[in-house]
């Protein structure tokens, strides 16, 4: 029998430390898997390159827009239209409007999300207000165009795609970063 309990216990302490690390390792692992399979509805937050793609006029897909402001803040935030019918392969522009109704300046960050999940990687955006922080003066209204296309590889069963944006207040974080640089 294993006759050194102390050493055995130390080995188990190492395993414990290892599992603590494993918990942290799950973070990059999760992000890698999600990116690889495009499975959490996350959309690229940098501009996509759109080469010349053949437009598929035989197919029409409805793209719906959902806008949310996080944490019950009173800002106004909407898309100029609730939905748009598109042909895969063609670029479209849709304007979003946001108003800072509060009495002070703020910095906001929009986080996009796409449903169904397997449409996410086929939604390509060349321009989006979600690529960067947006600064709003007190009471300022902004018009923010989004330029996007659905690539023709979009799974055949998908006839409706929902693109949702949530605006978060990131003023504190942005201030800290500015001070840092």
């Amino acid at each position: 029998m294993n006759s050194n309990p102390r050493r055995h216990a130390l080995r188990l302490v190492l395993v414990t430390a290892g599992m603590f690390g494993f918990g942290y390792a799950l973070v990059p692992l999760y992000n890698m898997l999600c990116d690889a399979f495009g499975i959490n509805g996350k959309v690229a937050t940098t501009a996509a390159r759109v080469g010349t793609v053949e437009v598929d006029r035989s197919r029409t897909v409805t793209v719906e827009f959902v806008t949310t402001v996080n944490g019950g803040r009173p800002w106004k935030f909407r898309a100029e239209q609730a939905s748009i019918d598109v042909h895969p392969g063609q670029l479209y522009t849709v304007n979003f409007y946001a108003t800072n109704t509060e009495g002070h300046d703020l910095v906001a960050q929009a986080v996009p999300q796409v449903a169904p999940w397997d449409a996410a990687k086929h939604l390509r955006k060349t321009e989006c207000f979600c690529f960067n922080n947006q600064t709003f003066k007190a009471g300022e209204e902004k018009r923010m165009p989004v330029v996007f296309m659905l690539d023709p590889e979009l799974p055949a069963y998908v006839d409706r795609v929902t693109l949702s944006y949530t605006f978060f207040d990131v003023t504190d974080v942005a201030m800290q970063q500015n001070r840092g640089t």
Binding site: P5, A9, M19, G23, V27, I39, N40, N70, T166, Q176
Partner: protein, 552 residues
């Protein structure tokens, strides 16, 4: 418990008895003392958590808001769960392991007695921190025991207390688990090979590995919450590029094995008690061990069945559905083995046996509702309703808690040398069994009809079920005082209860713990015992070896 020191035929006179007074309990490294402390602590927590559940049931007695504000109601559901899981069930099982594992494998103490002392004394601090949040500005944590962000990040001053309390509970559990593994793997009496160990020892060995594997993951997850809130990281903050769903994955990677941490020792207890009162060897010992190990393994690959509705790829939903259903196979093996053990046995129905039988029957109901929940498409209807509440309470209360009660009745004569009162034990069982079903069975119906969990109010159509459920809850709570008095009377010799039981208190019981006097002396097995065939028959199918003992 008390009075070991007065025991006359102390087996080892060369050893001193315990110290006197409070310092005995603070400084003790004795596994029996610590087992007692753990059990007293656990039952205190059961009482506090029970009071919280009564606040919940009082509020839900009829629709509308009667007694408490919604904020406080949410604090109660959150704290109730944390106190019961980490303060009640887990420490109770650790207490039983402390008392019984060394006596079952024939060693004198756990391998690391000082660590054992620390492991216990961390707990009062952990729960002191946690319970103190009830008196803070903004109140106690109210985002649910699952601590999902972003909601939990809105917790007020209580937040860091919650996180540090979880860290402390985790450290306590991990030290306990390491101690159990090292003891079992290094200190068994000669002749006690792995596949001859009593099942309680086996299930605890596997539970301990589960604890070592997943408690650190929980610690990591709550540390990430802490840094997200105070140090500007964004593991789970969407605006910073994080993902709140990631927390759910990490949490349930801990959480599902955690539910098995709370049930595997119960399997061990029931596998010990049923053979004693059926007067037969346990049916299918080896398959019990393998089933326990398979359950432990499977518990790592089913976590996302708690997340069917967050939006997963179809392949994921299917995988987690089938993997979850697979767990029913080894679980079924166990249930059939228990039934087969009773088959043609000469059974008697003393209180521990009644609780063990109640366990088999009612735990199985919880297993069935679990199978229903595992079916992804219907879980979209059941998720976050009272059906889920009914499911996990069936596996946890008439499951884990009944097994703890059964264990206390079964071993209290060995611990104190005094027999509990059988009549009141039976009354306790029947009241508990009736009231627990009154409490939780109607919740299945309320849940199927659409009543949401974690909400202080509900639509009037659910009133009848809730009235019954609340009556059941108050009845169950009241019935437990019978138990407390019965057990304390054994500890302190109330009602003229005398010591003087034989070593083998139950004539059908086998195992090394029944070869030492009752009450068990303060020090047992200072020299490794001779493990005889008769004591191993408890674990083996070979009935011919039973000759040494009376077969009714």
């Amino acid at each position: 418990m008390a009075h070991h020191d007065t025991h006359a035929d102390h087996a080892h006179d060369d050893h001193h008895g315990p110290e006197k007074g409070i310092m005995r309990w603070i400084k003790t490294t004795n596994h029996k003392d610590l087992g007692t402390l753990y059990l007293f602590f656990a039952f205190t927590m059961f009482f506090i958590g029970g009071l919280m559940s009564l606040v919940i049931r009082a509020e839900l007695f009829v629709p509308g808001l009667q007694f408490v504000q919604p904020e406080f109601f949410n604090q109660m559901t959150t704290m109730h769960a944390l106190v019961m899981i980490f303060g009640g069930v887990m420490p109770a099982f650790v207490g039983l392991a402390n008392w019984m594992v060394p006596m079952m494998i024939g060693c004198s103490d756990l391998a690391l007695p000082r660590v054992n002392n620390w492991g216990f004394w961390i707990l009062p601090f952990a729960f002191g921190l946690l319970l103190s949040t009830l008196f803070m500005d903004g109140g106690a944590p109210a985002g649910g025991w699952t601590m999902y962000p972003p909601l939990v990040l809105q917790t007020g001053e209580a937040f860091p207390f919650l996180i540090f309390a979880v860290h402390l509970m985790g450290i306590s559990s991990i030290t306990g688990a390491i101690n159990v593994v090292v003891t079992i793997l290094n200190m068994r009496a000669p002749g006690m090979t792995l596949l001859k160990m009593p099942l309680f020892v086996w299930t605890w060995l596997i539970t301990a590995y589960l604890l070592i594997a997943v408690m650190p993951v929980l610690a990591g997850a709550v540390t990430m919450l802490l840094t997200d809130k105070y140090f500007g990281t964004s593991f789970f903050t969407a605006s910073g590029g994080g993902d709140p769903v990631l927390f759910q994955h990490i949490f349930w990677f801990f959480g599902h094995p955690e539910v098995y941490i709370m049930i595997l020792p119960a399997f061990g207890i029931v596998s010990t008690i049923i053979p004693t009162f059926a007067r037969k060897a346990l049916f299918g010992y080896d398959s019990m061990v393998y089933a326990t190990a398979s359950i432990a393994f499977l518990s790592f690959i089913v976590w996302a069945h708690h997340m069917f509705t967050v939006g997963m790829p179809l392949a994921g939903e299917l995988f987690f559905m089938f993997a979850t259903m697979l767990i029913a196979v080894p679980t079924g093996v166990k249930v059939f083995n228990w039934v087969a053990t009773m088959w043609k046995g000469s059974m008697t129905f003393e209180t521990p046996m009644l609780f063990a039988l109640g366990f088999v029957f009612l735990f199985t109901i919880g297993g069935f509702s679990g199978l229903m929940l595992a079916i992804t498409p219907v879980d979209f209807q059941y998720h976050d309703t009272y059906f889920v509440v009914a499911h996990f309470h069936y596996v946890l209360v008439p499951g884990a808690v009944f097994s703890i009660i059964a264990a206390v009745y079964y071993w209290i004569p060995k611990w104190t040398g005094r027999m509990y009162n059988e009549f009141w034990g039976k009354v306790h069982f029947w009241l508990s069994a009736i009231f627990i079903n009154l409490t939780f069975f109607p919740q299945h119906f309320a849940g199927l009809a659409g009543m949401q969990r974690r909400v202080p109010d509900y639509a009037v159509q659910f009133t009848d079920w809730n009235v019954i459920s609340s009556i059941g809850a108050f009845g169950f709570f009241a019935a437990q005082f019978i138990f407390i008095i019965n057990i304390l009377a054994c500890c302190y010799g109330w009602f003229g209860r005398k010591q003087g039981l034989p070593a083998r208190v139950w004539e059908g019981a086998h195992g090394l713990e029944w070869t030492v006097p009752s009450p068990a002396p303060y020090h047992t097995f200072e020299d490794p015992p001779q493990v005889t065939e008769a004591e191993l028959t408890a674990v083996h199918d070979k009935t011919d070896a039973l000759d040494g003992h009376k077969l009714a």
